[in-house]
């Protein structure tokens, strides 16, 4: 069984020799290990991805594939979620982490515009609110639309190049594209507080908007996977969980749209990987409506993984959830004990991929990360 076959077998809930390993967002940890700043990751993507490959070798391979091929594309992070981001080397010191400014980018009256335009045209209109295009760049491209197209081409070229470099090492890249759920996108664009008030005060407007955003977000995922040639899309979710909203709101503003996304991706041969930050315990029973053996639910250490296994056993592949706090401040003994518990309980019967909770913390301890990986490998 090859590494990528092991991963696919885990998704399909088949029996495997050991759980597959797929820690996510390794670029920041790799950069810190290589002595690069966070500004370096953004400015010199080739160096960031080279640092990832060197880290792969130092760890003796950190998984059965790499999650993303290269470093973070901050432009796309900003535009995808319509969020203003403070950048190291520009707004922050070079060694600072990039940070989201939680603030309303769109206003209540913008919901109608989104409903009329769909997500992509709307987001294009909003780019100047989240991203500063220099006068030189505007002169070069001529319009925001052309600038955005140029960034898309640059980003795709980089991803393909990094993917090829991994393949030359005999390593596959697992995720080909990522999209937010409509609710996640709107919550980021409006800010959590304002979006929450909208749900209670103008629910019909919000509902129209989430449905209007949906078709483009689905198409973006399909087009992204086609462009990279990698049939897995990460659906970024966080702000629709049962930690935030009661289930009647989940049933109206998140679940039907998410279900539609998943069905469309699966129909197109794409594996949806649900990036489920925060506590989704109350929502998990709904996931049984997703197609069996086709979906990955990646949990971040907040949802109780062991209960999740009881609810979703034999239906949805679980991924996660070695907590950030443990990787940064725990001992190797604690990491090993936690991974063993995950492998033996959540891995029981298949349908489990070992991963980090959310992302690999940039300042995780090298020995803890190595222990996490080696412990899981020892079961093979």
């Amino acid at each position: 069984m090859t590494e990528i076959e092991r991963l696919r077998a885990c998704v399909a809930l088949d029996k495997v020799d050991r759980p597959a390993i797929l820690p996510s967002y390794m670029d920041r940890f790799a950069a810190m290990q290589a002595g690069l700043t966070f500004a370096d990751i953004l400015e010199r993507p080739d160096e960031a991805s080279a640092a990832m490959r060197r880290l792969w070798d130092r760890l003796g391979g950190w998984g059965d594939a790499v999650y993303y091929a290269g470093g973070t594309d901050i432009y796309y992070l900003s535009v995808k979620f319509l969020m203003r981001i403070l950048l190291p080397g520009k707004h922050l010191p070079r060694d600072s982490y990039w940070q989201i400014q939680e603030m309303p980018i769109i206003e209540r009256e913008d919901y109608s515009l989104l409903t009329r335009m769909g997500w992509n045209d709307f987001a294009l209109e909003m780019i100047p609110r989240v991203w500063e295009i220099s006068p030189e760049e505007m002169e070069r491209y001529g319009s925001v639309e052309a600038y955005n197209r140029g960034q898309a081409e640059r980003s795709l070229d980089q991803y393909r190049k990094d993917t090829d470099l991994w393949r030359q090492k005999g390593v596959e890249v697992f995720v080909g594209a990522s999209v937010p759920s409509p609710q996640m996108a709107l919550s980021c664009a409006r800010s959590l507080t304002e979006y929450t008030l909208d749900l209670y005060e103008i629910p019909d407007k919000v509902e129209e908007a989430v449905w209007a955003a949906l078709p483009d977000l689905i198409q973006n995922g399909i087009a992204g996977c086609k462009a990279t040639g990698i049939p897995c899309v990460a659906i970024i979710l966080e702000r629709g969980s049962g930690a935030y909203y009661r289930l009647n709101l989940f049933e109206r503003f998140e679940f039907p749209q998410l279900k539609k996304m998943i069905e469309e991706f699966v129909r197109n041969g794409i594996t949806p990987l649900l990036h489920l930050d925060t506590d989704w315990s109350k929502n998990l029973p709904y996931f049984k409506e997703f197609p069996k053996g086709k979906v990955i639910a990646s949990l971040d250490g907040t949802t109780n993984m062991f209960n999740a296994k009881k609810v979703l056993r034999d239906h949805v592949c679980l991924m996660g959830d070695v907590p950030a706090s443990l990787l940064v401040a725990g001992t190797t003994g604690e990491v090993e004990a936690y991974v063993r518990k995950l492998v033996e309980e959540v891995g029981d019967g298949g349908g489990f991929i070992l991963g980090t909770g959310c992302s690999m913390p940039p300042n995780a301890l090298f020995q803890n990360v190595k222990t996490m990986i080696d412990t899981c490998k020892s079961y093979g």
């Binding site: 982490y97 209670y200 909203y245 009661r246 925060t278 250490g301 990787l327 940064v328 913390p361």
Partner: protein, 222 residues
């Protein structure tokens, strides 16, 4: 039909709360009594959140409502001068250096104020020395540090180390909170307590300053 404060909080009447408060003031009700009633309702919000009856959404909306109440009542209370509201203790609060996230911190601040704490919010990206200066200035019972990034653990630890250096550690309890914190982080930082949510955080703070207060939580009982 006019509604009372309890009804408005219970139904998350964001648009009604100001009207109800102004009506009570116009009727001549004592501003302290109005504030106390709102504080009691916020305490119930915290309890409902912890019991699972309320969700983060309701916590956020309630906090915004209390913010409005405080905005109306604070100037009137100040006008009364020496009759200060009795505080159960001061919390010096901030997001330590290296992190600018403030959503969780701000909700906690409102919840803590509504629970009777005085809160000195230092903001975000706060250097360790600022926490110490504030501690020396106001003599807090608690220092609260919030963060969303694991990268702020060293900044949190620096605050605790400086408290020790200044001989203040025995007098000040320390609580950390935020999505990336956990028991291992609490241990590393040397904090007394850790929490993932604002309501629990306030309950722990009450317990930290008065161990006879009901309720447990993720805190080091020593």
């Amino acid at each position: 039909m006019p509604r009372n404060i309890a009804d408005v909080f219970r139904s998350l009447g964001m648009q009604e709360i100001e009207k109800v408060i102004y009506e009570k003031i116009a009727e001549g009700e004592d501003v302290y009594a109005i504030l106390k009633e709102c504080q009691d309702e916020m305490a119930k919000v915290g309890e409902r959140f912890e019991s699972g009856e309320f969700y983060l959404a309701e916590l956020i909306i309630s906090a915004k409502m209390f913010e409005k109440v405080a905005g109306i009542l604070s100037p009137k209370i100040k006008e009364r001068g020496s009759e200060a509201i009795e505080s159960i203790g001061t919390i010096v609060l901030g997001t330590p250096k290296g992190d600018v996230h403030n959503l969780g911190k701000n909700i906690f601040a409102i919840m803590a104020k509504s629970a009777g704490f005085e809160v000195l919010d230092l903001g975000v990206d706060v250097p360790a020395q600022k926490f110490i200066e504030a501690a020396l200035q106001v003599g807090p019972k608690i220092i609260g540090m919030s963060g969303l990034l694991t990268l702020v653990y060293p900044s949190m630890k620096e605050v605790v180390d400086l408290l020790k250096e200044q001989g203040l550690r025995d007098r000040v309890k320390v609580i950390i909170g935020g999505g990336a914190t956990g028991e291992e982080a609490r241990r590393y930082v040397g904090a007394d307590a850790q929490t993932l949510d604002a309501a629990e955080g306030v309950r722990i703070c009450k317990k930290l300053i008065d161990p006879s207060t009901a309720g447990g939580g993720a805190y080091d009982g020593n």
